[in-house]
Symmetry: D3
Subunit: 239 residues, 6 copies
């Protein structure tokens, strides 16, 4: 039995609030249960130096966590004067995941920055961030199309992410904090709507795990992510 009473292959209640803030070109508050991440997309008419005059665009991400998003208070990174290794790892992952489903040539020489800020954390902030950031990105690119700045969306397909893990002896989907902090293995799957794999990060938390276990986690993720793609479409009114 999971602490939340969920079935092994059951996601937490997931929801998307689009337009959560008014200034961003695309804004989406995503909730995976008690994990709440505000994803804001900013369109900038310039690219990083290595892309200048190439005709190609860029998609990148920054990640942050409000100090009291967590059970105890974490020091504010701006006050400490640097981003932790964990923060940098996550924001690099979000950026790679989004670029894997974006046609950067079609985007043209502009950059879209996704700010993913965790307002409340209960496990799985990076998978929620990727899933919500794609919605914010879709809102921003749809707006570019609507304003006639792009002939066609540069997004090739949706991307979403979910965690899986081994808790006790069972493989379970979409870990919350209670599960995450005691899991024997933990894997994050970033998957594309067409079924392809964008990124896998699997870690044995205690001792090495059998290959078959990794397979079982992958099966759970592939099944579970379908619901996320459905909710993303709904949030974008593409039901």
């Amino acid at each position: 039995m999971r602490p939340s009473g969920r079935a092994a292959d059951q996601l937490r209640p997931v929801s998307f609030v689009t337009g959560f803030t008014k200034h961003a070109e695309g804004s989406c508050l995503v909730r995976f249960g008690d994990t709440h991440v505000l994803c804001n997309a900013t369109v900038e008419e310039r690219v990083p130096p290595f892309l200048r005059n190439t005709g190609k665009g860029w998609v990148t991400a920054e990640y942050g966590m409000l100090p009291r998003a967590t059970h105890g208070r974490s020091p504010r990174e701006a006050a400490r004067g640097k981003q932790s290794g964990r923060t940098q790892e996550i924001q690099r992952l979000i950026g790679r995941s989004l670029r894997a489903v974006t046609d950067l040539e079609r985007l043209g020489e502009r950059q879209i920055v996704l700010d993913c800020d965790v307002l409340q954390a209960d496990g799985g902030t990076r998978t929620a961030a990727i899933t919500g950031a794609w919605v914010a990105l879709a809102l921003a690119t749809d707006a570019l199309v609507a304003r006639g700045l792009l002939p066609k969306s540069p997004l090739v397909e949706p991307v979403a992410a979910v965690s899986c893990g081994v808790c006790g002896e069972a493989a379970v989907l979409d870990l919350d904090y209670a599960e995450d902090s005691t899991a024997k293995a933990d894997a994050n799957f970033v998957l594309a709507a067409s079924g392809g794999i964008v990124e896998v990060q699997a870690t044995a938390e205690d001792r090495p795990i059998p290959r078959a276990t990794l397979r079982a986690l992958e099966d759970l993720a592939v099944a579970g992510v379908g619901e996320l793609f459905r909710l993303q479409r709904e949030a974008l009114g593409r039901g």
Copy 2:
């Protein structure tokens, strides 16, 4: 005529959502129109070094702004590696304002940290932050009393803040961004419910202003803040 159509002495719609996040000892999302600030109070059973073994507690604040809270995107302070002078100035002001209405001896040797994070900005973030932070602080200290950790609330009285300014030729209350960016003078008033002044910061943005103008701004603030005290009480169920 103000851009928002408000009367000169009229506040923006103000609201408080208590319990906006679940981990903080006191949590309040305050909205002054389109300015939205999440205020979370954390109670820590330790004090800064200069207060150790004095029996006295401390109240302090940190302030931040999400990168896309504003019209254009501002660089993330955690990524830049330091807090701006503006950020530090505001968080020092919030801390002083709250301490002015707190009996630190009654609080005992513990510290309460108020994290004020701007989710969306439209002028007046510091005054909204002070006003909302006091609610979060009251929730946290009420909980200490309810749990028997304090015999009595250490809060002496409510505190709230509002900005005033000279726009065109008129003195107006509670400036939004459109007004703030063109005001000839700008003043922030931090006031206590009993009528006393906690802090005044008045700045001539263009050329020096007459003493009488400062008086007019003060009158507006003193009148306008009454509504904030009423809404604070309501948010805390002390209607």
Copy 3:
């Protein structure tokens, strides 16, 4: 009775030594009693990015305190690797105060930087710094006029600053450290020679103060600052 034996409305002995250092375009050592601040003006033939090609100039300030300017030694900010919030707050105040009396269009596309370094501190370093920085600024702009680089001084009028506070029950002018550290309220007034208010920063150090008290402090400042304007004129040989 004040610790220094001064009357409630009496300034400390104030003096200006112009030309204290030889390289600066304007240099002035200002003394408010035992508070000594060296103010050096540097004229740079370039402006910050946001003013390029606008024809407008800029006036800005930096503030520092020698480690042993104070009773005990304070850590050197350069060694700590950052400026404190207090330092940034003060240097922003000095810059704003000077810009409020400068015609930036008349200055033309150049920047004047005022370095205000406290050699010895005994309370009121920010007010001394503003008062002395204006003298250094006037020396530098007069030199621009004398060299034919400006047809006319860009300074609209003199600016000076003084602190006031409530010590015991009395409102007193120009607090020294002994008074400052025990004051119940503390206010800094930046005033223009024509009588206008440039900036007010008033803080209740203990509990909120009555509006009438703020008025009394303002009256003291307005009266006291006249002497500062007289001494500034004298220092500039405009007797």
Copy 4:
């Protein structure tokens, strides 16, 4: 055909030089072809704060790259004042990988730090670092046993790592820089000698990849890592 002429399932020539430096408790220069990483283990008789008085030890790692290890010169991280996100990601991975095969209770309340410094880079520095760091760790823990400070080695089993990727249409083992920079997918496998998985990091570099491809890469890695375990044993004289 691979640029190096290797078969798809062929490692580069791999070698270990133990005792490369004389001060470290365990020292090993590992070479995967032209990728050379110096791994030094330091035994410290103290643990990080969160482990004090728990009887448990810790294994951690730091990673660096000499500025001219690469084709062009990279800025020195010490001079830039911070470690890049990539550096932090890699050193966190090395630490996790080693802890997964270490019995931290058996290690006792001491810390072993593995410094992995890349002297020359030609792709696969993180997998070489993990493989070499385990040898340095084994040397250091064997020495603790030999000196009677530990009754038995705290190392549960060997760990090694290798990269795989899709180059052109083929899945290949142990990518060098020429392959790595053009691969369509890239995966790092950290595997234990007993066959278990310690960590998988798989990334689609261009578009999402089929699940079957990830399987093929995993098969290659599992087959290829056997040779690494054999060479590790040989290096430690456990032939």
Copy 5:
């Protein structure tokens, strides 16, 4: 002919103003011509960690330069967020020079920090700083003796420093900025009153110099420093 008209072996006018600031335990403004350095000694009743419980004390120094001490304005190190290599090199030199003439056991377990801040620079700031810092150190240690905290001064003998260099073809003493910036070789000599050498730093600025030239510079320094020792004694009233 030297730009200043001085003879080759002639110092600039040198003077010491003791008690320049009032809070420091020892304070001295030293002037070597237009180079003015404020040296303040702070006595702290604690030592760096490596000396705790050894009964030995420590003498250390920090060096800084006001931004407009120089011809053009140099960026403020506190604002840049770090001390330059030059600053660190100089402050390490000052500390070593003073420790070489201090009996650290006799000082007892306390630390004396010498803050050397350049108010105005015209070449030779490090040699002026050493020479003035010794006076400030002597004032502070004399005060410890006078207050009965030390039975006897821990200072073994005076130390002073002077620069020499090759300008044109001539070896000259005590270079000012005009000479320093065009010298072919530059040497700083830190010498003890008893005639011993504390530190020599000699640098060929252009091409290597003959050994005989270094000898000539050393002879100049040894001769010139006598006057500095005489003035130090005078400043301390030990005429």
Copy 6:
């Protein structure tokens, strides 16, 4: 008797391995006994801002020490976020030493960066670094000539460095760590092959030393450095 059994005027075994890494334009591992420094030269077709459009080039150096190069582990500078004063002092010295024997006009508008990284330390790392860096610089400039990018080598003559010190009562050459840490005086001599002095840094570690002692150290260095020049030539195949 020296700890190593060497005669007073005897160098440690010195060797140069050229081409130690493959990417650098010039690469040399230099060993002075157990002190091993990897020196890599990078040629960049750009110069620092102050040299742009002057037709002159630049030679500069960076220095680092692997954390476990030393007896105990030193914190990694990249992780601490800054280079120590010692590191900066050494890299400035290496750069000056190399520039003193380089014709920067002949080099043309390009920069050569020498990265000197200590793999293992046993005293004298800065002198080994200078001696090895010159070999790396010669390899890089010879390659520029060989590729027809320079008509002639910009190197005027070889430079090498060695330390000397007073251990017990004796003046000895090329101190190892055991000697260095107990020496009464320590001097580093940077000398040119033609016999000229490039830089001298002599420090009394305990009490001031007689001028005659400095002379004796200099004599030792001048004699000892000849062997270094011979080995440099041999390493470059100019036997």
